[in-house]
């Protein structure tokens, strides 16, 4: 609003110099606006989300790959056992990384596009995006698997959203 300069509270401003001064509202510069516009782009947002999902998948795959198959083979030496376990961890974490990266990318892109089209910020955006992600990831198992994946992932993403929204 054009007349938005609020009066600073008089209070004890004279007595306490170390208290933070209340400054008038400053309009953002063009560089600040451009920096904020970068995150307004669906492609940038979904790629960043995919990268974060990939990192998460890497960590999870590393951890779970170590717990996956304890070797009880006596014919391998200790060093060979270690190499075998390391390879298994690596392949497991790479596949998990790819899965999570694709999941994050698709979910973020779907949510961004749906929210831009609806022009509203809601939890139904999250539900639709979760349905699209779950359906596209389980589409190989046929239409029934796609429906189940859609419903399941939509429920999961809505629950996660409500969990993260509790404190705000």
């Amino acid at each position: 609003m054009a007349d938005a300069n609020a009066e600073p509270a008089a209070g004890s401003s004279g007595s306490n110099e170390t208290a933070s001064q209340i400054e008038p509202i400053r309009m953002p510069t063009i560089e600040e606006m451009r920096a904020q516009e970068v995150w307004n782009n669906c492609a940038v947002k979904s790629v960043a989300s995919g990268v974060m999902g990939g990192g998460l998948g890497l960590m999870m795959g590393l951890f779970l790959g170590a717990l996956d198959n304890p070797i009880t083979n006596d014919t391998m030496t200790g060093r060979q056992q270690f190499v075998f376990t390391a390879k298994q961890m690596g392949s497991r974490s790479w596949s998990s990384c790819k899965t999570f990266a694709v999941m994050g990318l698709v979910f973020s892109a779907a949510e961004c596009i749906i929210e831009k089209a609806r022009a509203k910020h809601d939890t139904t955006n999250t539900a639709f995006a979760g349905c699209v992600t779950g359906g596209s990831m389980s589409a190989r198992g046929g239409p029934k698997a796609a429906c189940i994946g859609c419903a399941g992932f939509a429920t999961f993403s809505v629950l996660i959203e409500k969990f993260f929204d509790r404190h705000t």
Binding site: A2, H121, N125, D165
Partner: protein, 85 residues
């Protein structure tokens, strides 16, 4: 605003100044009304986040575009003669 508009012939300086003042008041009023309308329509009043969401941004874009267009149309209608309303 690169170069200010030259004053048309036949208008004194005071008249031009008062016209500019009226125009400025009109512009300020337009901006205030626009911001108020689009804010009340587009932004959720519960204020859960400090930043504008993507949905809020696109809603505000559409609202401002519609408001501006309607404003232009109404201005044209009003300036083309008084239509019976």
């Amino acid at each position: 605003m690169a170069t200010p508009n030259p004053i048309p012939a036949g208008i004194s300086k005071e008249q031009a100044f008062s016209m500019a003042q009226t125009e400025m008041e009109y512009r300020v009023e337009l901006f205030n009304k626009l911001a108020q309308t689009c804010f009340s329509k587009c932004v959720d009043k519960r204020y859960k986040e400090t930043e504008l969401n993507m949905g809020d941004n696109s809603c505000i874009d559409r609202c401002v575009s519609k408001y501006w267009q309607v404003n232009g149309m109404v201005g044209q209608l009003l300036s083309a003669g008084k239509p019976p309303m």
